[in-house]
């Protein structure tokens, strides 16, 4: 039986920054936190920070964080924890040695698998996307929702998203649309219902929460409050800065890293001061502005360098990293998408990003395409093999076999070959047929094969179901949230 999830354990490492450079960016970050400070627009956050020795300007909701407070707080954060799945076979050990891929999140369109047309996403799409991800071992957890429920009340949308996801996957769910204290408490209630209570949820946290930061050097109030709820219940949480060089960050990448680091670090410090020892993670999707279009690049060499460097910084503090990965700007699963996704995945894996979010969206995380998602898992698989490197020992050097085969011989029938031939990477969707066969078959390439796989999953895959009474309970919680938050 194939494994439910398939993390990469990279042996090779790609270090973008030297130790001295990491230290220098760390020092610059501390300087910014101490002198410029961070905007924390939440009374709860301001109270926590003041009580722990930070300099708070209530009128401007500005906080200067002394270096001692920062370093002591971050030292309390655990460097290792488990993100559990409803199915224990989907548990992820977050320990700085494994890379787990998720799907991308917060898309707003679907390339309809039945009509091929682009249309706005619905709650049914969020549910279908969870079922789809559940089927793929290379996608270890569900992040998002992959596409948001746009046919429900906006005030309680995050809970409709969660209901759709939790009912359709037994993998870990990292929520990214849950903002505000109320919404977070409803989400915890839903997860606790499935886990068997809040104590059991603390023991086996089947959800975690990620929020965006506000660049440069600020947080959003409801986001802070949602993550404080997560930390209260022992659920992992983190903040994702997305500074854009030339806009919300300096044009130079080192400066961009300082801004990104200050935002991620300040969020982690707040959570540690409020709930010492709570599991936290760094996150990031730093990029640059394309000055020709004025928009987000959707993939550039700078993005991958920043991703790898930000991951090094997270590990410098002994914290896990959830890194924005893939998310090509291409509009179709084409040549451009393959360049972007290959480099992006390479950078995240070779720097050992603990969590990588993720696959499935086109056009800068806007449009869901299931065949594209399948193609991205193939790229993930290739990088996984490369990251394993080459083993060099007596067996793999095979001197005896080379001597035996000699010049112009063949290794095909050697025992050594039989022992090792299954180690060779095999494609799922790469086309390796002879040219004539490919021609006779109508020039079907990777996209055609990926579409077949996607169609098959959509038509026939069934995830492990939630008990009917739990489905009913989730529905009741969402109904209460609708009534309280959306007045329905």
């Amino acid at each position: 039986m194939s494994p439910r999830i398939n993390p990469i354990t990279p042996r090779l490492r790609w270090e973008v920054l030297s130790s001295a450079e990491l230290e220098r960016i760390h020092e610059a970050t501390l300087h910014i936190l101490e002198t410029v400070g961070i905007h924390f627009p939440s009374q709860r956050a301001l109270d926590v920070l003041r009580a722990n020795g930070c300099q708070v300007d209530d009128a401007r909701q500005m906080v200067r964080l002394p270096r001692a407070v920062v370093t002591e707080a971050v030292a309390q954060a655990p460097g290792e924890y488990v993100l559990a799945g409803r199915d224990p076979d989907c548990d992820m050990l977050i320990d700085g040695k494994h890379c787990y891929l998720s799907n991308d999140g917060s898309g707003v369109f679907v390339q309809d698998p039945r009509t091929g047309q682009k249309r706005p996403s619905t709650k049914a799409d969020a549910a279908e996307s969870a079922r789809f991800v559940d089927a793929l071992p290379n996608v270890s957890y569900y992040w998002g929702p992959l596409v948001t429920s746009q046919d429900v009340p906006p005030e309680s949308k995050a809970l409709h998203d969660a209901e759709a996801v939790l009912a359709n996957t037994s993998k870990h769910f990292q929520a990214v649309t849950c903002v505000g204290e109320k919404s977070a408490r409803y989400l915890v209630e839903m997860a606790a219902a499935i886990a068997g209570g809040t104590d059991e949820l603390r023991r086996r946290p089947i959800i975690s929460i990620m929020q965006c930061a506000v660049d440069p050097l600020a947080h959003d109030g409801p986001n802070l409050e949602a993550n404080l709820v997560a930390a209260e219940y022992g659920l992992a949480s983190g903040f994702m800065p997305m500074p854009l060089s030339c806009g919300t960050g300096p044009a130079t990448l080192a400066g961009n890293l300082v801004v990104q680091n200050a935002e991620a670090l300040s969020g982690a410090v707040l959570l540690q001061l409020a709930y010492p020892g709570a599991p936290v993670f760094f996150s990031g999707a730093p990029s640059v502005i394309d000055l020709k279009t004025g928009g987000y690049t959707g993939g550039s060499p700078e993005d991958y360098l920043l991703a790898a460097a930000a991951t090094q910084l997270a590990h410098f503090y002994g914290l896990p990293m959830a890194m924005g990965t893939m998310a090509t700007g291409a509009k179709e699963p084409d040549w451009q998408a393959a360049v972007d996704d290959s480099l992006s995945t390479f950078a995240s894996v070779m720097s050992c990003a603990d969590m990588m979010n993720g696959c499935g969206l086109l056009n800068g995380s806007k449009i869901l395409s299931y065949p594209h998602l399948v193609m991205e898992t193939e790229i993930y698989s290739i990088v996984g093999r490369m990251a394993a490197g080459i083993s060099v020992d007596e067996e793999s050097l095979a001197l005896e076999v080379i001597e035996k085969v000699g010049p112009n011989g063949t290794y095909l029938s050697e025992k050594h070959t039989r022992r090792h031939m299954k180690e060779i990477w095999r494609p799922t969707i790469f086309d390796r047929s002879p040219y004539e066969v490919w021609l006779r078959g109508g020039k079907q390439g990777a996209l055609a094969r990926a579409t077949e796989i996607a169609d098959e999953i959509l038509a026939s895959y069934e995830p492990a179901p939630l008990a009917p009474e739990l489905l009913e309970e989730l529905g009741a919680i969402v109904a209460r949230a609708d009534a309280e938050m959306a007045g329905r």
Binding site: E21, V214, V339
Partner: protein, 441 residues
């Protein structure tokens, strides 16, 4: 023309496939093979005088450094077919196709040297020489000439001498590199060295038959080192490097690609530059598969301390060329080389003053620091970054179509610096004469 290599930042990041112990074991495996011939000490001693790098001269472009750690791109390879469009079947290459390939390669700033494809011919040597003649005639960049014999090498030297304007000038600015085919004797390498031309000795590990590519590498490396050492013995200080021709067993073989990175480390440990034909995708067109394969290959090579990546523009595992693939490979190379350039960290790049000045929720767009550095940001030629609606309105154009625009624009522009007609005629004569004597032999 943009300055050659202007888009090629020096690589600063390294992906080291082998740790110290593994590299030691691989070297030991190579030495085991050499020891069988009693050649260990002699090889090590002779290679002591080898150069770790040199410059690539072109007829009409600035010199480019050729040294491990500053990767350059070589276009082409020994294909004998061409694909005219994305879905077209391969057809035999003509002289006009070779010219077009060399012109496109000449116009792409990412390309530092050209290994011309050649027309199919029973006499492969004559076909290769004719192609080298066209590359020297049509293009102004450094030419990589694959040679299978002493006679062929001699003809390449003659052609390069004619273009350079004499033997002394050729020694001063060698316009071609001789890439020896596996098994070619030391005499051809010696001839190239005597004329001042750099010489690449092929390692030809067989990645077929499920043999561990790593073991194959050790085996073939011993042979190549023997040739390189002999060349240093006869011509101390001769420019000699190691080349890995295409030889992958499938569309993308991660283990074979890792072996390329290992070969780069191994070559560097002997102080020699290394060139790998790593871009020979098995894809039939410039599609998603070609993109994924060549992106990995270019990135691994860019970060592995390699001196040259060859094979830009090849399809079908190196059997055919495509002008569109060449333009698209150049974009991939530029992308990967920029990634390998890393992140400079100093007072200017950390930009503390700018961060303080912009403050909270501000914008760096109007900052002087942004104006100073905004051009450092990589800009694509073939990547589409337009809004979705604009892309749809403009006919959902793909990277391939943007590449096609570039190809047409290059081919419609008259060649900037053609070789004088009499020199071009002389090159043809040399190629014909060498071909004739090769057939007679």
């Amino acid at each position: 023309m943009e300055e050659l290599g202007g888009r090629r930042p020096r690589q600063v990041m390294r992906l080291e496939l082998l740790d110290e112990r593994q590299l030691g074991e691989l070297r030991a495996a190579v030495f085991t093979r050499l020891a069988a011939h009693g050649a260990v000490n002699w090889v090590e001693h002779s290679l002591g005088s080898a150069r770790s790098g040199w410059t690539l001269a072109g007829r009409s472009v600035a010199d480019t450094p050729f040294v491990g750690g500053q990767v350059v791109l070589a276009a082409g390879g020994l294909a004998t077919a061409v694909r005219d469009t994305a879905g077209a079947a391969p057809r035999p290459i003509t002289e006009a196709d070779i010219d077009a390939f060399c012109r496109v390669a000449d116009a792409l700033p990412e390309v530092a040297m050209v290994e011309p494809p050649c027309a199919p011919d029973d006499d492969a040597e004559a076909a290769r020489l004719a192609a080298v003649g066209r590359a020297l005639t049509v293009g102004g960049k450094h030419v990589m000439a694959v040679c299978g014999s002493l006679q062929e090498t001699t003809a390449v030297i003659e052609m390069a001498t004619a273009v350079a304007g004499g033997g002394d000038e050729l020694k001063r600015r060698p316009l071609a590199t001789v890439a020896l085919m596996p098994g070619v004797g030391v005499s051809a390498a010696s001839a190239a060295a005597a004329a001042g031309l750099p010489c690449l000795v092929a390692v030809a590990p067989s990645f077929f038959g499920a043999q561990d590519p790593f073991a194959a590498l050790a085996e073939s490396f011993a042979v190549a080192l023997g040739v390189a050492a002999a060349l240093q013995y006869s011509h101390p200080g001769a420019r000699v490097g190691v080349a890995l021709p295409p030889g992958r067993r499938g569309p993308l073989d991660a283990a074979a690609l890792a072996a390329v990175a290992a070969a780069a480390q191994l070559t560097a440990s002997f102080g020699l530059p290394f060139v790998a034909t790593a871009l020979a995708t098995q894809a039939a067109g410039p599609d998603w598969l070609a993109s994924a394969e060549n992106t990995y290959a270019a990135l691994v090579c860019s970060t592995a301390g390699i001196a040259g990546i060859a094979g830009a523009g090849l399809l079908d595992g190196g059997a055919s060329v495509s002008l569109h693939e060449l333009v698209m490979d150049a974009e991939i190379f530029s992308y990967c080389a920029s990634t390998a350039a890393g992140i400079p960290v100093d007072e200017e790049t950390i930009a503390l003053e700018t961060i303080e000045h912009v403050g909270i929720a501000g914008n760096a767009l109007g900052e002087r620091h942004t104006r100073r550095h905004m051009r450092d940001v990589w800009r694509p030629r073939l990547f589409d970054r337009t809004p979705y609606e604009a892309w749809e309105r403009e006919g959902r154009r793909q990277s391939y179509e943007l590449a096609d625009d570039r190809v047409q624009q290059i081919l419609e522009t008259p060649a900037a610096d053609p070789l004088p007609a009499d020199t071009a005629a002389e090159l043809s004569k040399i190629a014909i004469r060498a071909g004739r004597s090769s057939r007679d032999a």
